[in-house]
Every structure is written in structure tokens, then in C-alpha cells.
């Protein structure tokens, strides 16, 4: 499975904007496979951490109610161009991933 994500972080003139998308099935565990009639096991991201220069600024706790390929956008103060933004996630099956970006 592709464990990929995209992050964009930029100075919007007032503060720093971050947009991220994580490619993940976010399977609820409630859906049934149409062919076999069996339940598809739940597979969803539980936690996402956003760090600015190594300091945690935002923690997202997610459940199966978050859409497939989750999207996250927020702004924060106190950042500047060139700073590092790192976003990492874990899912309920022990999978994890992450990516980092420089503020542009």
C-alpha cells in the first residue's frame, strides 16, 4: 500500500499556513465486501502530530469518521520561512508515516 502524503507550508503574510493530505483508505470496519459479504476490517489513522522545528503544535485524534485520504489545513503563529514542518501519523493497524516540508 502506498503510504504517501503531501504537505505544503507557506508564509501567507500574516502567519503560516499548512495544508496536508495523507493517502490512506480510512476503512471504517463497518463496510462489507460486496462480493464476499464479509466485513472489511477497520483501517484508519488514529493520531496525527504536527511539529514546527521539532515542537509539537497540533495533535489530531482521528477515528473512522474521518474521510478517506484525510485532509488537514490550519494556520499557526511564530513560524518563519525556512522553518521545518513535520507531520507524522499512526493508524490502528500499527502503520505509520510522515513527511516534512520547509516553510516557503
Amino acid at each position: 500500500m502506498a503510504r504517501k502524503m503531501k504537505i505544503r507550508a507557506w508564509d501567507n503574510g500574516k502567519n503560516i499556513s499548512i495544508k496536508a493530505i495523507i493517502f490512506h483508505p480510512m476503512e471504517t470496519g463497518m463496510r462489507k465486501d460486496k462480493k464476499t459479504g464479509k466485513k472489511i476490517p477497520g483501517h484508519y489513522i488514529t493520531e496525527v502530530n504536527c511539529e514546527h522545528n521539532g515542537k509539537n503544535i497540533l495533535t489530531c485524534q482521528w477515528g473512522p469518521g474521518v474521510s478517506k485520504n484525510p485532509f488537514l489545513a490550519f494556520n499557526f503563529n511564530g513560524g518563519k520561512k525556512g522553518d521545518t514542518i513535520k507531520i507524522s501519523w499512526v493508524d490502528n493497524q500499527g502503520g505509520k508515516g510522515g513527511a516534512s516540508a520547509k516553510i516557503s
Partner: protein, 156 residues
């Protein structure tokens, strides 16, 4: 003699694994700060889920919170939601869909650097309100937005 050496070797290896595990935790600090509230996400009662992620108390409706979502969502599997609060001292923002099997969709823990305005995408089983609960300075506030869903996003 040899046996003891084996045991010591094994013990050292186990300790090494622990050190690696601790190292992994450093990369994701909040796993130490706050464990994922499994009970809240598995609860089918909104009030129970809310008390776990946001804290006890009845949230007060507030005009200082806006929930932005489409009036009509053609696909309940992807409903864009933006929750903005102008209240001072926002600690957490939680998003609920009361009609879903598990009402809690997402909860965000904000540091003081983060502007209290978070955008995400959630699933909705059917036409309902999206309820946002904001914890600010230890108190709970709430706001909601009705969304008409033409195709449910949780079915199978």
C-alpha cells in the same frame, strides 16, 4: 556459566529494543502526552464521547464558533468542515456527527501557536447537524451546522 551469559545477552538485547521504542516515542511526543481515546471513538453516545475528549460539563452554545460546511453534501463520504473559534484560550476542538454510528469524528489538541481554525473532511451517514465542541479556558462551547446529505458515506 554459558547459560548465564546467554541470559545476560538476551536481557541486553531486550533493553536495546526498549531503547528503540523510547526513541520512536520521541518522534511522536503526544503518544506520551495523551493516548488515543479509543473509548471515545468507539462510543455510540455523543455525550460519553464528548466527556472523554473535551471534559465533563454541558457545552454552552456560542456565537464565537463557526462551523463551515456545505449546505448540501452530495457525497456523505467526503464533507469538508472548517471550525473556527474566536474565543480566547482554545485548547481542543472536537467534531461530532450525532447520527453516525460513532458520533466522534475528530478531535484536535491545539498549542497556543495554532490559530483556532481547523479544516478537515469527515464522513456523514445521513442528513444531520455537524456539531463542534470547543474547549476554551477550561469551559465547553458548542456550535452546529446542518448539512443535507444526498448519499450517505458510511454504508456498505
Amino acid at each position: 556459566m554459558d547459560k548465564t551469559r546467554r541470559i545476560i545477552l538476551k536481557a541486553t538485547m531486550a533493553a536495546g529494543t526498549l531503547a528503540v521504542a523510547a526513541g520512536a516515542n520521541l518522534l511522536t511526543p503526544s503518544t506520551v502526552l495523551a493516548a488515543w481515546p479509543k473509548k471515545a471513538f468507539k462510543s455510540n453516545k455523543m455525550s460519553e464521547a464528548m466527556s472523554i475528549v473535551a471534559g465533563a460539563g454541558k457545552p454552552v452554545p456560542s456565537k464565537d464558533i463557526t462551523v463551515e460546511a456545505p449546505d448540501i453534501a452530495e457525497n456523505g463520504a467526503v464533507v469538508s468542515v472548517k471550525v473556527t473559534s474566536t474565543l480566547p484560550g482554545v485548547e481542543t476542538i472536537s467534531v461530532f456527527v450525532p447520527v453516525n454510528n460513532f458520533p466522534l469524528s475528530a478531535s484536535y489538541i491545539l498549542s497556543d501557536q495554532v490559530v483556532p481554525s481547523i479544516t478537515g473532511r469527515i464522513k456523514m451517514a445521513k442528513t444531520a447537524d455537524i456539531v463542534a465542541v470547543v474547549k476554551a479556558n477550561g469551559k465547553l462551547y458548542t456550535a452546529k451546522k446542518a448539512v443535507k446529505v444526498t448519499l450517505g458515506g458510511c454504508g456498505g
